[in-house]
């Protein structure tokens, strides 16, 4: 009887780990998809010379489909929205800038066990890069 009680307590503590493995894989999948969608949007923006409203809307739609606990206001997209042009010499002023911030709202699968609040159990994932424009003047 004593062994059963001890084992039950130990199993409850050990269950934290498989739950965390699953949460980590879930978050990793979402972040990988975020990388893919941002890169696709960037490739379209290179050809257009800037992030057009259509590119931004498509990116938001794709991200909302991947992240099931986000709404549109959570995704912060700060990108170049005026045309940049391809020139014969390298000019860093003609780079297209993009910064996408997405909150990861569940880092730990069992936050209450560790005494964490919902606000402590999240962080912002940021992708910020530059790309050259292929738009001819």
């Amino acid at each position: 009887m004593k062994n059963i009680i001890t084992l039950s307590a130990v199993i409850i503590v050990l269950m934290i780990f498989p739950l965390q493995y699953a949460m980590e894989q879930h978050n990793n999948h979402n972040l990988s998809m975020l990388q893919v969608y941002v890169n696709n949007a960037k490739e379209k923006a290179k050809i257009a010379g800037y992030f057009t409203p259509e590119i931004i809307d498509e990116l938001k739609t794709n991200l909302l489909n991947v992240f099931d606990n986000l709404n549109e206001a959570d995704i912060i997209i700060n990108v170049t929205t005026t045309p940049k042009y391809r020139k014969n010499v390298y000019d860093e002023r003609e780079l297209i800038h993009y910064r996408i911030e997405v909150p990861i709202k569940k880092v730990l699968a069992t936050p209450t066990f560790w005494g964490l609040s919902e606000a402590d159990n999240q962080y912002k994932y940021v992708i910020e890069n530059y790309t050259t424009s292929e738009l001819l003047p």
Binding site: N3, V10, V13, Q25, N28, S32, N88, L95, N129, E134
Partner: protein, 164 residues
């Protein structure tokens, strides 16, 4: 007592696995990002070409402007200083090394078989091409007994002429 000891041992094992899982996932994402940066470098370098040679029907890359673009893109996208050493806050910790190869009408007869000396990847080039190989050094793994190799990613951008 025995279940408690076994439980503690399992907890240590599970924690080690969790650490490896997080580090490996982070490494795979950083490697994918490195590939995107290599793509961006080769693409950007291929945008600059010698216009007077182009007017004579020869595609010759402007290597000076191309190399400027590559270095600046690496600095901005991998968060590096002027010596290509990572600034605090990024994933990579070692100085970034890169190689760039320009194959165009001024120095190459096509088709040409290119073999990357670092990755042994080979590609038959049929058109003017810029190839960039970036070595970002060792990834971050907290389990000290792991000995990962350097993260190297390569990208080629080819100028495709119109075919009628």
């Amino acid at each position: 007592m025995k279940p408690l000891i076994v439980g503690l041992a399992l907890a240590i094992l599970y924690t080690s696995f969790m650490i490896y899982q997080q580090d490996n996932n982070q490494f795979i994402r950083a490697l994918e990002d490195l590939k995107y940066v290599a793509d961006e470098c080769s693409d950007s370098a291929s945008l600059f070409y010698n216009t007077s040679q182009f007017g004579k029907g020869k595609k010759t890359f402007n290597q000076i402007e191309g190399k400027k673009a590559i270095k600046d893109i690496l600095k901005k996208n991998l968060n590096l200083d002027d010596t290509l050493t990572p600034l605090p806050g990024g994933y990579w910790t070692e100085t970034i090394e890169y190689d760039v190869y320009f194959f165009d009408d001024s120095n190459t007869t096509f088709p040409y078989l290119f073999t990357d000396p670092k990755t042994s990847y080979s590609k038959t080039l049929t058109e003017p091409t810029v190839i960039v190989t970036v070595n970002a050094g060792k990834p971050r793994f907290r389990l000290s007994f792991l000995n990962p190799s350097d993260a190297i990613r390569s990208s080629a951008y080819e100028y495709e002429s119109s075919k009628f």
